[in-house]
């Protein structure tokens, strides 16, 4: 049996907008007179209706880069479709509800009502289990556990993204060993800070997003993407203004609540190609 039009619209919202972050299709799915009765606290009320809708996937995907909603139930009746979903995510990005990125893997439920007019969503009520979500990312991790190690590495990468290198003293071991130093890098925390400063001079908006993060024993291993704009000197290449995106894999060792060693491999050939080298 073919799914009803209203269900198809909602499914497309989940599959494309939430799960893939494809906010460009929002005008295809939402009515220009859309009214949200359940806008999250602090959501902006400026910009177009479509900009306001886009804040939801941006907020979720910013905090939970791998967020994935699974539709558990849809009920189509009259002008409305009511939905129940389970969200699955790892808290690898930005803070959420005031909780710093925790590295936690979580699942939560959400129920919603959507009114559809002219094949577009025009009205919405929603009720996520925010208390359940918050408790899972705020739950304290046992000292020395893989949960704690994952949280420390997630925090490390977040502070690097924020270019808040002074925070290193809290969670990086003074004898930190960088297995992939830049030429001439000093040992320990001072050398690490300097390497990141040189990197962010080349890409002032650089942002590393973990797409997966696995912890076992003392090791934490992550795969992610790096986005940035080449606005300064990088490895001898003067600024091109190019927006670039490349992938990387990182490994960290965490002991007694401090990052003691780090390895990074990233797709340098792709990056150099995007900066116009090798052509």
């Amino acid at each position: 049996m073919t799914e009803s039009r209203k269900k198809q619209i909602y499914r497309r919202f989940v599959d494309e907008v939430i799960n893939k972050g494809n906010i460009d299709i929002i005008p295809e799915l939402y009515h220009p007179e859309y009214l949200d009765h359940s806008a999250p606290p602090g959501a902006p009320h400026t910009g177009s209706v479509f900009d306001q809708v886009a804040q939801i996937p941006k907020m979720f995907r910013g905090a939970f880069p791998d967020v994935h909603f699974v539709i558990e139930d849809m009920v189509d009746d009259g002008d409305w479709v009511a939905t129940r979903v389970t969200g699955y995510a790892q808290h690898l990005g930005r803070p959420f509800m005031g909780i710093p990125p925790s590295g936690r893997k979580i699942a939560w439920s959400s129920l919603g009502f959507f009114r559809v007019k002219d094949d577009k969503i025009i009205e919405h009520y929603g009720q996520p289990d925010l208390l359940g979500l918050r408790e899972q990312i705020a739950a304290p991790a046992e000292a020395g556990s893989t949960d704690e190690n994952r949280a420390i590495v997630t925090r490390y990468v977040y502070e690097v993204n924020m270019q808040n290198y002074d925070a290193f003293d809290e969670f990086v071991d003074p004898n930190f060993i960088d297995h992939n130093p830049i030429p001439g890098q000093e040992p320990g925390i001072p050398g690490l800070k300097d390497a990141y400063r040189q990197f962010s001079a080349g890409f002032p908006d650089v942002w590393f997003t973990f797409e997966d993060l696995i912890a076992e024993g003392e090791l934490v291993i992550g795969r992610g993407v790096i986005n940035g704009t080449h606005q300064g000197n990088f490895a001898g290449i003067p600024a091109t203004g190019n927006k670039v995106r490349w992938t990387g894999t990182r490994i960290f060792r965490v002991k007694n609540g401090k990052v003691t060693e780090g390895w990074i491999n990233f797709d340098m050939i792709s990056l150099l190609g995007q900066l116009g080298m090798g052509h």
């Binding site: 009765h37 558990e72 009920v75 009520y125 009720q127 996520p128 289990d129 925010l130 208390l131």
Partner: protein
């Protein structure tokens, strides 16, 4: 003749009116299966999630703490064996509510419940109400700081 979905909607509406709004808890025996299974949100209190006691205890605590408790329907939909109900819960907490002393404060929060109905009885519920909003309105947790 009413369709199965119309009868199911009427059952859910009557359950809200009798149990939650009037406090006629005996109606749980009429509307809810003894094999009822509840899938509640995370909440700050503990009541059973199996059997009629789940609803009996929840309604007893809510209505005991808020004698003017009322669930105001906004929308109700049905398809197959499901009824999904959207309502706004209102009440004044004039008595103790679980571990929390009476505050005299008023709450108004949204709730959505997905019911599965079998042979004219509610057999399963997946529900979420705005637990955090309720706790903030009662002053039990601080409102979040906005940036």
């Amino acid at each position: 003749m009413a369709t199965e979905q119309e009868r199911n909607k009427a059952l859910v509406l009557q359950m809200y009116e009798e149990v939650w709004n009037k406090g006629n808890l005996d109606f749980i025996n009429t509307a809810v299966s003894p094999d009822f299974r509840d899938h509640p949100p995370r909440r700050f209190f503990d009541v059973p999630i199996r059997g009629r006691e789940a609803l009996f205890e929840a309604a007893t605590h809510f209505r005991g703490a808020m004698p003017d408790f009322h669930d105001n329907m906004i929308q109700i939909v049905a398809e197959r064996d499901r009824v999904i109900y959207l309502g706004r819960i209102t009440g004044t907490q004039t008595n103790d509510f679980f571990q929390f002393k009476a505050t005299g404060k008023t709450v108004s929060v949204l709730g959505i419940n997905d019911f599965r109905i079998e042979n004219g009885k509610i057999v399963e519920r997946w529900g979420i109400f705005d637990v955090m909003g309720m706790m903030m309105q009662l002053g039990l947790i601080p409102a979040p700081a906005h940036s």
